[in-house]
Amino acid sequence: MADKRKENFAIECVGITKRFGSVLANDHIDLQVRNGEVLALLGENGSGKTTLMNMLSGIYHPDEGSIFVNGEEAVINSPTDASELGIGMIHQHFKLVDVFSAMENIVLGTKEKYEKPAVLEEKINAICDKFGLEIDARKKVYNMSVSEKQTVEILKVLYRGANVLILDEPTAVLTPQETEKLFRILRNMKAQGNAVIIITHKLNEVLEISDRVTILRKGQSIDTVETKDCDANQLTELMVGRPVSLEIERPIMDEVGTILSCKNVTIKKADGTIGVRNLNFDMKTGEILGVAGVAGSGQKELCEGIAGLLKAECGEIHYEGKNIVGKTPEEIINLGISMSFVPEDRLGMGLVASMGMVENMLLKTYKKGKGPFLVRKPARSLAEKLVKKLGIVTSSVDTPVRFMSGGNVQKVLLGREIESNPKVLITAYPVRGLDINSSYTIYDLLNEQKKKDVAVLYVGEDLDVLLELCDRILVLCHGEITGIVDAEETTKEEIGLMMTGESVKKEA
């Protein structure tokens, strides 16, 4: 150990332990990153990646263990301490002030005097040139795309003179082209002798960008390997702890017929701005229709429009030949259209966090009971059936769902929708935040529905999954459809281009 430290790692963590109450988030983690290298931190959700990085950036304080920066032991008590040590973190959820311009965000909290905007702009442009970044320093953050916001975050860190850059799931919200651009910037930084730590669970990206990979599992550092010596399967095995097949099956159905078709549908958001404009597409039975797009491109409005939560301003939605625009959500549910939407905070829609599984089942079925009293028995047996069928882990069906882990909550949500035997199933982000195993359970569930001739709409983030799981993919950009393509014949790059607004003529 002592010999190693002489090498002067940019950052070295020794025996870092962090507890939240009784939960052991980090259990004696060791980690080293050198100057001029990209280290990937790989692990499933809840394996302690973000917690560890938050300790490096001064948000949390470790209970045990020590951190060495350039060979010297450092105590990091606040984000200011971290930035003085040259450590900068780009959080998964951007920490930007929306009504400020890029440069106001960049200088925020720095110690220097108030500078004239022109001087500041020059300084920022100089940093941009050095690392190959592009930004309009006077643009307001609320007018920015996700990728621009990320650039501001990176600049914020560089402006403070950071030479260790930590990125928490930076590519989750980017198109493939934007990801490429980010990786070019990271390679630039690496070439100039900076250390980069990138947290991700996308294996192909780990293989592409990193020099070494440290794998975390359940709060422990399992192994550190040279990237060039391993492949995706090995990494998965290290991450999950046993071999996992990475194939997603795509059963081919013989007979498909149109069940739902949108014609020139325009839906406004709750605040009155246009959510989606002029949508024209069909949903077919026995098919999974994927929806791709940068976050906030109208996915939510599309789902809520079909489910009747938002009313279409104009256009018609035909379901089995009849227009359902103007029907209430309840009527639409009774027609056999079911929606499960997993929002960013995962619990916000569909389930009541403080209720148990039984009561959450009742939310959808209480109207079927006669008289003013609730009939719990069918709901209870349904809940128990779901627990068995989907392998939901919970202490009892009456335990409030907020005590369940994210994966189990999502199984409950999707399971309940499926049990109502829908003909059209709308799912948005059903695998959001799930580990590999749970994700594959969900994919299997969706395929099962497809085999039962249900028309499935799958709104997803991960393009690789969309390409493997779906039959056709509809791409949204700023609320408009930029293309509907056959998943077998398209490429990730093509979809990426469409996500940024390049309309592709080919229709499937």
Binding site: I59, P79, M89, K95, L96, V97, V107, G109, Y114, K140
Partner: protein, 317 residues
């Protein structure tokens, strides 16, 4: 003509206590805290200013006491909401009830002790609060009465508004302050001491409200103590924050409009016979209309700081 100039002049003076309340609330909301205790902080400021003025006979000490008392009342609010994460609305409302009640209680107590049964500021201090009269300047027609004829509070109020504008818009500290109100997590990650600046701004805001309270007792009631001297001005101030779009400079104009509404009943021609109660109602009616009208406004810069009303807890994810 002279009637109109007089009306404008009294409107400006009449809007000044509202201006203080609005400025105090703006700077509080800029750090993300909605303090509904403006009315209470003004009452406490009024009480402290009056009592200190009466016993020391010094206008300056009275002002300082009003500021300190308002700031102290705000400190109670800050401890509860910033440190103990209490609900901001409930805490603010409680502060209003407490502040008004406490001021009235002190007043009753002091009146009980006095021989005459009334409380009045000494002549020396009331002389200092009168409208200024600068030889030569105040006598210029039109400009004189409009610019150089007010009580000292009016000038203090306008200077405070301009200073606050400069602080919020032109200094680094102001930038940091605004960031706290918009996105405290971002400010925290940028190394800004969120809790410290919340305390400073909330207390500063409370102090400014306290001076507004002193106005109500010293000018509106001419230095004679009465209960409930603030009389709802604090609530108009809270609404005016929205009307002013969280801008201290716009607050100057907004408060003068409301000052005009409050004075209107004395300046309408006698021929128009609308019951006086209608004019008393007018500021509140307009407040309601303003709140509805401004809720339609969509500009991001002129809307409430995004994190206003929610307490910030760092480890919450």
């Amino acid at each position: 003509m002279s009637m109109l100039i007089k009306f404008i002049a009294v409107s400006i003076a009449s809007g000044t206590p509202i201006l203080f309340g609005t400025l105090g609330e703006i700077i509080t909301e800029k750090v993300g805290h909605l303090n509904l205790g403006v009315e209470g902080m003004m009452a406490i400021g009024a009480c402290a200013g009056f009592m200190v003025g009466m016993s020391t006979d010094s206008f300056l000490l009275a002002l300082l006491a009003a500021f300190a008392a308002g700031a102290f009342a705000a400190l109670i609010y800050a401890v509860l909401t910033v440190t103990f994460m209490a609900n901001q609305n409930v805490t603010g409302l409680t502060l209003t009830i407490f502040g008004v009640g406490f001021a009235n209680f002190c007043g009753y107590y002091a009146i009980g002790k006095s021989e005459s049964g009334t409380l009045k500021l000494p002549e020396n201090i009331t002389a200092q609060m009168r409208n200024i009269n600068i030889e030569g300047l105040s006598d210029i027609p039109v400009i004189g009465p409009l610019l150089f004829s007010y009580n000292p509070f009016v000038y203090i109020g306008i200077v405070t508004a301009l200073l606050l504008w400069f602080y919020l818009r032109r200094t680094k500290t102001g930038l940091n302050t605004r960031a706290i109100g918009e996105n405290p997590a971002a400010a925290d990650a940028a190394g800004i001491k969120v809790t410290k600046w919340k305390y400073i701004n909330i207390c500063l805001g409370g102090g400014i409200c306290g001076i507004g309270g002193a106005y109500t007792i010293m000018i509106i009631n001419k230095g004679v103590w009465i209960s409930d001297c603030v009389g709802g001005l604090g609530w108009i101030a809270v609404a005016l924050v929205i009307f002013a779009g969280w801008s201290p400079v716009k607050a100057i104009f907004g408060s003068f409009i409301f000052g005009a509404l409050r004075q209107l009943k004395y300046y309408v021609p006698a021929a128009i016979t609308i019951p006086g109660a209608f004019y008393d109602m007018l500021p509140y009616l307009i407040t309601t209309i303003v709140l509805i009208a401004t809720s339609i406004r969509t500009s991001r810069e002129k809307s409430q700081p995004e994190a206003c009303g929610t307490n910030y807890f760092r480890e919450e994810r």
